[in-house]
Assembly symmetry: C2
Homo-oligomer: 432 residues x 2
């Protein structure tokens, strides 16, 4: 049987383990017992490939470099956010397939989230319509954990570990002064609360901070929030609250889009504010904002003016997706395996599929199995946190979430250090 | 000789290693060959001690817990920001010394920064005036590295390691897309640039991002900044800029206090903006800000409107001072030793002093010696980054800074993990 070549790309936002999946794809493609000759890497995904940006990963990476790649965060090959046209008659498709044929490509792997699975779906459907035998396989990746038909998504475990470890440290930090204080930690999650919920993993025992956690799955009410905060502040000096960046109210307005006027309305509704605080106008002048960016900042201002306590907001920002130091070894191993399994499915003749995770039913002994799922079912769908995993009051998660997420953050990475810092793998060749 | 007791407190902002110094004090106090019977810990510093909040550290902490304390970030004993009265005739002083005598205190240790050294100074001066033989010793601590008469300060090395490792990861993250982009990282340092400068340690070779670093020691000019950014964007796709939160312009105005009007003035000064962009009024409406908080955000908006490129700002926030995972083992060991040396100086009969670091001259083989310095010389002073360590253009640091800082971030902490997260030491007893 003549050998064919394979090509792999990375797409969408970076994670701590997207390179571990790349590593898995390379390893499996280069194993001597299979039918793949060369494994090419697209630089900056399908967008870069259209400009003929690619590299021969087998030739370029030594085994030692591959091991370094495995624990390097962000996307080694570079990424893109490029949506292929809906119309499969668009001229871009024959152009792409001509390029595939020139490189003798038999296997195409794309590591990414929803949008990337859309790319795999379109290319596999075009291939089916046009008699191409290239196999198209998606390898899942997203810190948001919002892909359906898979127990969880590579990248989520490491982001969850970063969030829970960092929240634990901020809780320690916030408790050093003996003064009523509120700390608001804003976490990633525009439409789903998987990652914000990971803040609950940071608690050592019941009652520990963060005492309140709000996810975008539940409409957010400032009035209910004020009641929650008031109750907690009666019980503790230091209150830590975790919120998803994507909190929306019952009208569907993002909290981070609240205008000063809207916030003012909520503040003036409360009689205690009218009695104890300067008027809204003065408060505005102090702040000088018309609109606040980030729901953490909106809530920071709300609490300061409503309760008059010391308050600060912290946005964990991009480190949630690019921290290599706090990556989960479980996540790295699973991401690598997902890459290997993706290649195996393609070698088995499957196409238009995504490598997915199945958790064995007994949660006491976490164990993962793999399967392939129809990529057309996955793309452009979104998995939210089950409402039964959110507390009845909408301000916490239940034990079911903890049982689900805790196995995913186990195991540590010890990256090789040089000059006191992790020594990651950098792409030598610059394409531009 | 009759044994006396010792008392130790923590004061000011938390660091990753203030507990390592506490650990050093406890170890040395409890070593059987000296004249100290018990080592008490003040809860929430001198302020808590005034309310009789203290604990017996020898009785409460097992040797195993002490080892865990050594790598626990933030302040185990709790902290305060409490300034003793300037007037040594104030009634608070005899009250404090009565409490010291009741506990048979012979040795007083205070771990903190400038303000804490002020406390040590006042108490030692009061003791001298009133015939008390209690010895008062300061143990330095601050991530800002701004204490004089010491080569560096415990806490700085760990914060610098956190900053450089995190900047390295953000640089990786920012380079995944093939699109002109600017990432601004705002770092701690209100008056001194020691910590922001640590971003330079993240570079692997010359030319690496962060390409521009601005410290508060040099007056900041938006016009010069625009020229720097323009030049860099001609040479690279992805530009990462690090700035101190305390950047001020030549008139002494904090950049983070710039009004929308002021920023607008700078934007309209540039002809290219007037030609290529909507008018200032429209830009304002898009943004809706009157005043921006955080100089990173001011610069983010400036760059977006001036250059029209993708731009984001990241504020590393409190994790800079409370990250235990990225603590420097060199820093932990030196902080511990500083605590031990402080006790030794007190046992030697010294008072009104601070334990300080002396670096041996040959920078090729980093080695530290210890000495005691007059605490009255240290308090209320501020050490800035030498101007000769800042590049002539004011947008980078020189090799002299790298040589100074690199030894301080060496060595890693491997905290014991439980359920995937570091298991730190928590105070069991709640004082309030």
């Amino acid at each position: 049987m003549t050998k064919r070549n394979a090509i792999v790309g990375q797409s969408g936002g970076p994670t701590a383990v997207i390179n571990a999946s790349l590593c898995g794809v390379i390893q499996k493609c280069l194993s001597p017992d299979n039918r793949i000759e060369k494994i090419y890497g697209m630089i900056h995904g399908i967008e870069g490939f259209l400009k003929d940006w690619y590299m021969d990963l087998g030739a370029e990476l030594s085994p030692k470099e591959r091991m370094r790649l495995r624990i390097t965060p962000a996307a080694y090959l570079g990424s893109c956010r490029y949506k292929l046209p809906e119309d499969l008659n668009d001229a871009i498709y024959p152009l792409l397939f001509t390029k595939f044929d020139e490189l003798n490509i038999g296997y195409f792997f794309y590591i990414g989230g929803n949008d990337s699975m859309d790319t795999v779906s379109k290319l596999s459907r075009y291939a089916a319509q046009n008699g191409s035998d290239i196999r198209f396989v998606g390898i899942p990746k997203t810190i948001d954990n919002d892909l359906i038909l898979t127990d969880h998504t590579p990248g989520f475990g490491s982001a969850a570990k970063y969030v829970s470890a960092t929240v634990r440290e901020i809780v320690l930090d916030s408790s050093v002064y003996h003064q009523k204080s509120v700390t608001i930690i804003e976490l990633m999650g525009r439409h789903t609360g998987w990652l914000t919920a990971a803040a609950a993993l940071s608690r050592r025992q019941q009652g520990d901070n963060p005492a309140l956690i709000y996810l975008p799955e539940i409409p957010f009410s400032l009035e209910q929030f004020a009641k929650d905060v008031e109750r907690e502040l009666q019980q503790r000096h230091c209150l830590v609250v975790c919120v998803s960046e994507g909190l929306t109210d019952s009208e569907g307005t993002f909290l981070c889009e609240y205008s000063e006027q809207k916030l003012d309305f909520f503040l003036q509704k409360s009689p205690s504010v009218l009695n104890n605080s300067p008027t809204g106008k003065n408060l505005l002048d102090n702040f000088g904002h018309k609109m606040l960016t980030g729901c953490g900042r909106v809530l920071e201002r709300f609490i300061r003016e409503r309760f008059g306590v010391k308050v600060r907001s912290v946005d964990l920002n991009v480190s949630q997706r690019c921290s290599g130091i706090l990556a989960s070894m479980t996540d790295i191993e699973e991401a690598e395996k997902a890459g290997q399994m993706g290649v195996q499915y393609a070698l088995n003749g499957e196409t238009g599929i995504m490598a997915a995770f199945l958790r064995k039913a007994d949660i006491k002994t976490y164990e993962l199995a793999f399967c392939s799922v129809d990529v057309n079912m996955v793309c452009n769908q979104e998995k939210t946190v089950p409402l039964s995993w959110i507390s009845r009051e909408g301000n916490d998660v239940t034990k079911a979430y903890i049982d689900y997420a805790l196995p995913l953050i186990q195991g540590n990475v010890c990256p090789p250090m040089q000059n006191g810092l992790p020594e990651y793998l950098y792409r030598k060749i610059n394409f531009s």
